[in-house]
């Protein structure tokens, strides 16, 4: 994988000038992104970079933003575009979309204890 250079396109162009947070698929910093299909024709630039980044494996949106050196807010739009076209699979941080409960917290605690 290539290390992205400093982006040449300002963030507001990466979002095609959109400014309203519409249709963002509930994307969050910890949404898990993974390329799901071929890159649709006509998408280049940041879209291609993001799609290529998560083709070999899954990353969170925050990690993708960091690797692409795009602001999180712009990465949300790019990811939403790709997801709308079926080129990106997006899953919530907690697969079953349950709120944090005791079971999860207890498993986290035992995982932390095992680090010692």
């Amino acid at each position: 994988m290539t290390t992205p250079r400093r982006r040449l396109v300002p963030a507001y162009l990466a979002t095609h000038g959109r400014t309203a947070a519409a249709g963002t698929h509930g994307l969050d910093r910890l949404s898990v992104l993974h390329a799901a299909a071929d890159l649709p024709a006509g998408l280049g630039g940041e879209h291609r970079q993001l799609w290529e980044l998560v083709r070999p494996g899954a990353l969170t949106l925050a990690e993708a933003a960091a690797h692409l050196r795009l602001p999180v807010s712009a990465t949300v739009f790019v990811a939403a575009d790709l997801a709308e076209r079926g080129a990106l699979s997006v899953r919530a941080p907690i697969p079953s979309a349950q709120p944090v409960n005791r079971d999860l917290a207890e498993r986290l605690l035992s995982g932390l204890r095992a680090l010692k």
Partner: protein, 213 residues
């Protein structure tokens, strides 16, 4: 390991993502998030770096775009949105069942909108404090309380920190008796893990007993 203050400009200048991305394990792990907060220079970046299994990354966050509609920037074209770097790392736990993300977030009141956005979905927060300037931690504690997150406080023991009893720290910070207060050296893994354990135990204490059937 250095104790360089993690002002946002210093973070932006360094810590560029290097090498291939570390992809998530193909186990569909549950992802969880804890916040590491506190005043500038208290060791948040160091703490995250000590525990993270990947080189720490940072996102560029625009204050106005974070939680307010992005329109606000366009209405004031002469003004550049305040940009702040948020650094984060991750730890895989329980053979890939869990991936815990640690977000080092500035604890100043002016970051409130960003804070609320960052903290959404977080399990809890660890507040790092420097005993030589305890009062600097109040902003971070206020932000966390407003966000409704459970938190623990960890004294980051700097090499030149004069000894101070934890009881005195607890009194100075006016901590609730239930709030865990621990000591660590942000450069040493074992103490950092202990601080997260204390926080997670506290999170567990605050969760309702069995919620759903």
């Amino acid at each position: 390991m250095d104790f360089a203050p993690s002002s946002s400009s210093a973070v932006l200048a360094g810590d560029a993502p290097s090498g291939a991305p570390a992809y998530l394990p193909p186990t569909d792990p549950v992802l969880m998030k804890l916040m590491v907060s506190g005043p500038f220079g208290v060791g948040k970046t160091t703490f995250v770096r000590t525990l993270s299994e990947i080189p720490t990354l940072h996102t560029e966050e625009t204050m106005t775009a974070a939680s307010v509609p992005v329109d606000d920037v366009s209405r004031t074209p002469g003004k550049t949105a305040t940009t702040v770097a948020v650094d984060f790392g991750r730890i895989t736990l329980a053979d890939g069942d869990f991936v815990l993300y640690l977000f080092g977030t500035p604890g100043q009141r002016r970051f409130l909108p960003l804070w609320e956005d960052l903290a959404r979905g977080a399990l809890g927060a660890l507040v790092l404090v420097d005993t030589r300037r305890l009062a600097d931690a109040f902003d971070a504690m206020d932000l966390i309380e407003e966000a409704g997150l459970p938190y623990a406080v960890a004294v980051n023991r700097f090499p030149d920190t004069p000894p101070i009893a934890l009881d005195a720290v607890r009194a100075a910070l006016d901590l609730d008796p239930a709030t865990p207060l621990v000591e660590c050296d942000a450069r040493e893994r074992a103490g950092c893990v202990d601080a997260l354990i204390a926080l997670t135990e506290h999170v567990l204490d605050r969760l309702p007993p069995e919620s759903a059937p």
